[in-house]
């Protein structure tokens, strides 16, 4: 059994006031189940509904009461049925009592596990908290909650309450809601519990952690303030990107009848010498080469290990600095969190004192960290305070890695104030923009939560992947579904928010005009096309005359090359074949170049044009490899050799052979129709055939 196996009971309010949000509850719960099926298949899950017509639970049977609480599924290992069941929840008819549901869920967990599995028993409650809680026979509701909380603590149960508070229904009873909120907020003060409020379906989808990742420390040891003062800390990841799942390559080679076929594809890497492409070089005959300019310096791993940088493990303070010295955009990676070593009161106090003083004085601490012995490098980063507002939770630090001097590119950009007056916004435009920025507010306000809070925003891509996975499990030919409506709130602006502020948006729209640049030729690059880095048209872009940098390269936006001339055919060809505004340029370039080569050979007198033709041929070969057009080149070569033979120009082929000229092989361009061997011997064998 897996060490980190979790037992989870989901408590779902399916009462009438929840009906409008249940489709989203179904989505999030089924994805939760799906991910458990994939990543933690030994986890056990139970489902309890409340607000149902019927009653079905053991507590009701044993002691009575606890009506309208329905155990949809007892705690058992996740399976496909669970995903199915959660995808279509029944709609209830009664107002549910969430406290009853909590008791039923608790009873299930305690009966099944008792005192074992501490800290890995979890309950997740989803409700709108609008229905009244029944009064208890014995003591007040508070007393009841306190008793439940004690049980939670004793058995190591965790409770997560997600309270959905969208736009209020007209019949909502605010007194009841306030009372419920009070009760729900008692739990986090007493036991392992937290209560989260969400206001829109999108946040609801993000409010539940769909994947349990067991937190692992990346460092346990001293935060060394100085040699005299070392604070014991543990370091974890605070944020870490959940990657798109890795899919295996599929092979359909196995016969249909083979039930045990894995359909996997193995990727094999083999090392070969260039010149002798038949022989493989075994691992013990290989050595790593490191590039230094044009030189490649061979160093064996042992030698390298002996001389490379080997810092000692440890986390040391370099000093404190004003927070304003650290730019937000210099944060380099995902974020770590430093907590005091659990149980070490001194460390907890020291972390708390430093964090609070940092907050008061607006300072950060600069650290040098080597998490593990044997780590290849040090990291430099900034520690910032993370103060707790819950009495049960200790203060801690966030840690962000900062760049080294080498990691920063200092490009100079024109000052906005130095740009020509024609591009400066006027006062009216600025005012319209101010209004626009102010009105399109997603931040928290008195009556509204922050929208698109990262902590409550689901990943649209993953959401869609798991959705699609389930669809395909039912029907292998299922199409990729359109993006879910609730998820689209993340990738598209909120239409309602825009509609509400229509006058301001319109005013903004009216103040500005954007029009295509008329000077730009039609054929030039289409806007919006994704462009990889390093493409050649970057150099053509010159935004504005840069005033504080002297730069005279702007003049070379010369007219685009249209054809291959006689003066500089190679340059023309290279320019032509690398034009990206139409795919036709590649073909045109190859064709024109081919014709040039024919002409040269044909007009040659005792081979006087051969060197030139060879040069062009080399350029053409290079270009065809670069543009992945090996076939065009190889076809041309075959034609050319035939042409030479017919016209008594065999001497040119001989020249090519003597220069080691070859077809474009598969290794040079994957699409080639010539194997390496074929390419190499092409010119050698050709003259002898026929």
């Amino acid at each position: 059994m897996a060490r980190n196996k979790e037992a989870l009971v989901v408590l779902l309010d399916v009462g009438p006031s929840m009906h409008h949000i249940l489709p989203d509850v179904e989505k999030i719960c089924s994805i939760l189940a799906q991910k458990k099926l994939i990543y933690s298949k030994y986890d056990e899950v139970g489902v309890v509904l409340f607000g149902t017509e019927e009653t079905e639970n053991e507590v009701a049977k044993e002691v009575g009461g606890y009506g309208h609480v329905f155990v949809l599924r007892n705690i058992k290992v996740v399976d496909g049925d669970l995903v199915e069941a959660l995808k279509k929840l029944p709609r209830g008819t009664f107002c549910g009592d969430f406290l009853d549901a909590i008791v039923v869920g608790m009873d299930m967990l305690i009966k099944k596990y008792g005192l074992t599995n501490k800290g890995k028993k979890r309950m997740c409650l989803i409700t709108d908290g609008c229905s009244e809680i029944k009064d208890s026979h014995e003591g007040s509701k508070e007393d009841q909650v306190n008793i439940i909380a004690e049980q939670f603590t004793r058995y190591g149960l965790k409770l997560e309450c997600i309270v959905f508070r969208g736009s209020l229904r007209p019949d909502a009873n605010e007194t009841v809601m306030a009372e419920n909120d009070r009760i729900l907020n008692v739990f986090p003060k007493k036991t392992y519990a937290k209560t989260i409020y969400v206001e829109n379906p999108t946040s609801l989808l993000g409010a539940i952690k769909t994947r349990n990742i067991f937190p692992v420390t990346i460092f346990r040891g001293d935060l060394e303030i100085s040699p005299q003062l070392k604070i014991k800390v543990w370091v974890y990841k605070k944020s870490s990107e959940e990657k798109f799942p890795t899919l295996k390559k599929y092979s359909d080679k196995a016969p249909q009848t083979d039930k045990f076929a894995t359909h996997e594809v193995k990727v094999d890497y083999e090392y070969k010498n260039h010149e002798n492409s038949i022989k493989y070089v075994p691992p013990d005959q290989r050595i790593k080469g490191y590039q230094y300019g044009p030189q490649v310096v061979p160093i064996s791993s042992d030698e390298w290990d002996a001389v490379k940088f080997k810092p000692d493990k440890g986390v040391k303070l370099l000093g404190f600095s004003d927070a304003s010295n650290i730019m937000r955009h210099h944060y380099m990676k995902d974020v770590n969190i430093f907590v005091a070593e659990p149980g070490d009161i001194g460390a907890t106090l020291a972390v708390s004192a430093l964090a609070r003083a940092m907050k008061e004085m607006d300072k950060v601490a600069i650290l040098r960290c080597v998490w593990r012995q044997g780590q290849g490098n040090v990291v430099i980063g900034a520690l910032t305070p993370n103060l707790s507002d819950n009495d049960l939770v200790a203060d801690s630090f966030f840690f962000n890695i900062l760049p080294f001097a080498e990691d920063i590119r200092e490009f100079t950009f024109p000052s906005f104030s130095n740009l020509p007056a024609s591009v400066q916004p006027d006062d009216d435009q600025q005012l319209a923009t101010d209004n626009f920025v102010q009105m399109l507010d997603l931040g928290p306000s008195n009556n509204q939560q922050e929208e698109l809070l990262p902590d409550f925003t689901p990943n649209p891509v993953l959401e869609r992947f798991y959705n699609c996975l389930e669809l395909k499990a039912q029907n292998p030919d299922a199409m990729v579904p359109p993006l879910d409506k609730t998820i689209r709130r993340i990738t598209e602006p909120d239409a309602e928010l825009f509609a509400r502020n229509k006058s301001i948006v319109d005013a903004f729209r009216r103040r500005f005009e954007v029009k295509p640049n008329p000077k730009l030729k039609k054929s030039s690059k289409r806007l919006g096309q994704e462009k990889p880095s390093g493409s050649d048209d970057e150099k053509v872009l010159h935004d504005f005359p840069t005033l504080n940098v002297i730069d005279t390269t702007g003049i070379k936006t010369a007219a685009q090359v249209e054809k291959i001339g006689d003066l500089t055919p190679i340059q023309d060809f290279e320019a032509l074949i690398s034009r990206r505004d139409s795919p036709e340029w590649v073909n045109k370039a190859i064709k024109e170049m081919s014709n040039k080569i024919y002409d040269l050979i044909e007009d040659s007198y005792r081979g006087d044009n051969y060197p030139k033709a060879l040069e062009l041929l080399e350029a053409l070969r290079r270009g065809c490899i670069l543009e992945q057009e090996p076939k065009q080149f190889n076809d041309f070569m075959r034609l050319l050799c035939g042409f030479c033979k017919k016209n008594d120009l065999q001497s040119f082929c001989d020249l090519l052979a003597s220069k080691g000229f070859s077809l474009i092989s598969k290794t040079e361009a994957a699409d080639s129709d010539a194997s390496d061997e074929e390419a190499r011997i092409f010119l050698i064998k050709e003259p002898e055939s026929e």
């Binding site: 094999d268 003083a357 993953l462 948006v505």
Partner: protein, 629 residues
């Protein structure tokens, strides 16, 4: 608008991110540069000593700058080609046979070629032999028709003839401390020489060569660009003042200037930024911060040191057949293999039709310190295709700065779609030099499942978490004041691993025996920490937190650890005793090991310090192996 389907991009992981790649340049975007260094006797005058600076000649400073620049180039942009050319020299060495111009080179390297370790090495100790081998001499003297500056431009231009202007950037970097090269000439001579030199400069520029001037400035003596160089490099009257203010007086400034200008701005992507329905602007993105990692490793044949070719082949695991790279992927789910085509996966990732779409604005305080995943990307507007983009961008930028808000947007590119924060960055200048450019920084935000709730991990409902008292916080504050790093900036610290990496490579490339000592600047300032004042505040803080229990609290937690090791030790001792009960060799030879319990077998293994893992058969096998020794 349809995006192009790029199957490779779909499966690309972080390491292949084009934005990360943008940092290291490839052969296709190379630059050709000629460093043109004035070597006139005037350059060999000592710079008037300022402060504790050593008495160095201008020439020395210029050479040092070029060496520093070459070192950066060989690491970052080793495909760039460089030439070093001196003018106002006694000897001449150039293909044109022009007087007063000396093209410096080493070994079998071409005059304009990729920088090599040897070039850097020999250039850095060139000064020792300069007078003997090359010599310094005024090339422009009254009454002579010679014009060394003209010759130098001509030679440099000829060097840069290589490669087409369309595929390579060509630059000419001119170092001199003479602001009036024709000052000694008179009348028509002067006019004529000035005219022909300017014409030569203009010809070079017409061929796509940019000329950049690095004047070596003397404190208190003005370098008057307007005398000659403004015309040569083509700066307008209005910008002359700005040019001068941008030129530093110290060597460090010059190095910094050169570094800043050495790297041409590279656009990573051009994006359409949709502001509201029907209104989109155009922006360029730049990678201003990316971790620089050591260059790529190639596999060599250990006998010949020739690079090896790596051949990748795909083999069907079921049949062993060689296959083409498959276009289908699969994911095991519910005991099935769910198949996806590459196109479908790309489709799944394409969740937005827009490249960058504005969703709204939030106060800056909403952006938490843990809302970060990867290095930021810089955004700057362009009117290249959509006129009016810059105006809107500036207006948004100003409003966001004034209202202290950041924009939330969806960055929908297929390789890495993300929710992002756009922070407006105001321009920051320090003595006329831009430190932070104006624009917006794109911060990649985490999603719910990317954030972990570590804080709650160790809470215990039975006790309140300990929070520092007012007094303790004050002590911490006092400590902070004493241990303040004044004016800390991220640019201060070099990457020690990288410096060591290239230090070693350089030494090996030059076949030097001694490996260089690299100073690790990232270590704490031990001297500062041992100052009595610092020690005192640390002790006070420590006492306020731990009282007298600091030592004991530390040993307590160490004890916890040693308890575990004690237990382990006791177990081992116990095992040793237990295993003496049997005659293992006898049991093994008679084949009776199988009749013992696993616990007994483990006793032997534990006593011998062998691994305890595996099935009973494994344990027996291991014991037999051990006995055979």
């Amino acid at each position: 608008m349809e995006m192009e389907l790029d199957p490779d991009e779909v499966f690309r992981d972080d390491e292949d991110d084009p934005e990360a790649e943008a940092v290291r340049e490839s052969a296709s975007t190379k630059e050709l540069s000629v460093y043109l260094v004035d070597a006139s006797p005037r350059m060999f005058l000592a710079q008037s000593p300022s402060g504790h600076d050593k008495d160095e000649s201008y020439f020395h400073v210029a050479i040092n700058c070029v060496v520093a620049s070459l070192k950066t180039q060989i690491i970052n942009r080793s495909y760039d080609e460089v030439a070093i050319c001196f003018f106002n020299t006694r000897e001449k060495k150039n293909l044109q046979g022009s007087d007063g111009v000396f093209v410096f080179d080493v070994g079998d390297r071409e005059s304009l070629d990729r920088p090599t370790a040897r070039l850097i090495k020999e250039l850095s100790c060139l000064e020792e032999t300069f007078a003997k081998e090359i010599g310094s001499q005024y090339g422009i003297v009254a009454g002579s028709r010679e014009n060394s500056l003209y010759n130098a431009l001509w030679v440099a231009q000829a060097l840069l003839r290589k490669g087409s202007a369309k595929t390579a950037d060509k630059r000419l970097l001119l170092f001199t401390n003479e602001d009036d090269p024709f000052g000694k000439m008179k009348g028509a001579y002067k006019a004529d020489m000035t005219r022909t030199t300017l014409q030569r400069g203009k010809d070079a520029q017409d061929l796509g060569i940019s000329i950049e001037l690095f004047p070596l400035i003397q404190p208190n003596i003005e370098f008057d660009v307007s005398l000659f160089y403004a015309d040569l490099i083509g700066i307008e009257d209005d910008d002359i003042a700005q040019f001068i203010s941008g030129v530093g007086e110290r060597f460090e400034d010059m190095k910094y200037q050169l570094r800043k200008r050495m790297f041409k701005k590279r656009i990573v992507r051009r994006l359409t930024f949709s502001i509201v329905n029907g209104l989109s602007i155009e922006v360029n993105t730049y990678a201003l911060v990316r971790p620089l990692v050591p260059g790529s490793v190639v596999w060599l044949d250990s006998v010949t040191n020739q690079p090896l070719k790596i051949e990748r082949s795909f083999i069907c695991a079921d049949t062993g057949a060689l296959v083409q790279e498959p276009t289908k992927r699969f994911f095991p789910y519910k005991n099935m293999n769910i198949k996806f085509s590459v196109e479908e996966l790309a489709d799944i990732k394409r969740v937005s039709n827009d490249q960058l779409r504005l969703l709204g604005f939030k106060p800056l305080s909403c952006l938490k310190d843990y809302h970060n995943l990867r290095p930021s990307t810089f955004i700057f507007p362009t009117d290249q295709e959509l006129i009016g983009s810059t105006t809107i961008f500036i207006a948004l930028h100003r409003s966001m700065l004034r209202l202290q808000r950041f924009a939330v947007a969806y960055y929908g590119i297929s390789s890495h779609p993300r929710l992002v924060a756009l922070i407006a960055q105001d321009e920051i200048k320090d003595v006329g030099v831009q430190v932070e450019p104006p624009g917006m920084h794109m911060i990649y935000l985490p999603y719910a499942d990317d954030v972990r709730h570590i804080e709650e991990l160790h809470l215990s409902p039975k006790t309140l978490a300990h929070q520092a008292s007012e007094e303790q916080i004050n002590r911490a504050a006092a400590l902070m004041k004493r241990m303040d790093l004044k004016d800390f900036s991220v640019c201060q610290l070099g990457n020690p691993a990288l410096q060591r990496h290239y230090g070693i490579l350089q030494a090996l490339a030059l076949e030097e025996d001694d490996l260089p000592e690299i100073k690790d600047e990232t270590n704490p300032d031990e001297e500062g920490l041992s100052q009595p004042g610092v020690v005192k505040v640390i002790e006070q803080f420590k006492h306020s937190i731990y009282g007298d229990r600091y030592e004991s609290s530390r040993s307590a937690s160490d004890e916890k650890r040693s308890e575990a090791s004690k237990k382990r030790k006791a177990n081992a001792e116990n095992a040793l005793k237990e295993c003496e009960n049997y005659d293992w060799a006898e049991l093994a030879s008679s084949g009776k090991l199988m009749s013992l319990t696993v616990a007994d077998l483990k006793c032997y293994l534990m006593a011998r310090g062998l691994p305890l893992s595996g099935k009973k058969e494994d344990l027996i096998g291991r014991i037999k192996m051990d006995l055979r020794k």
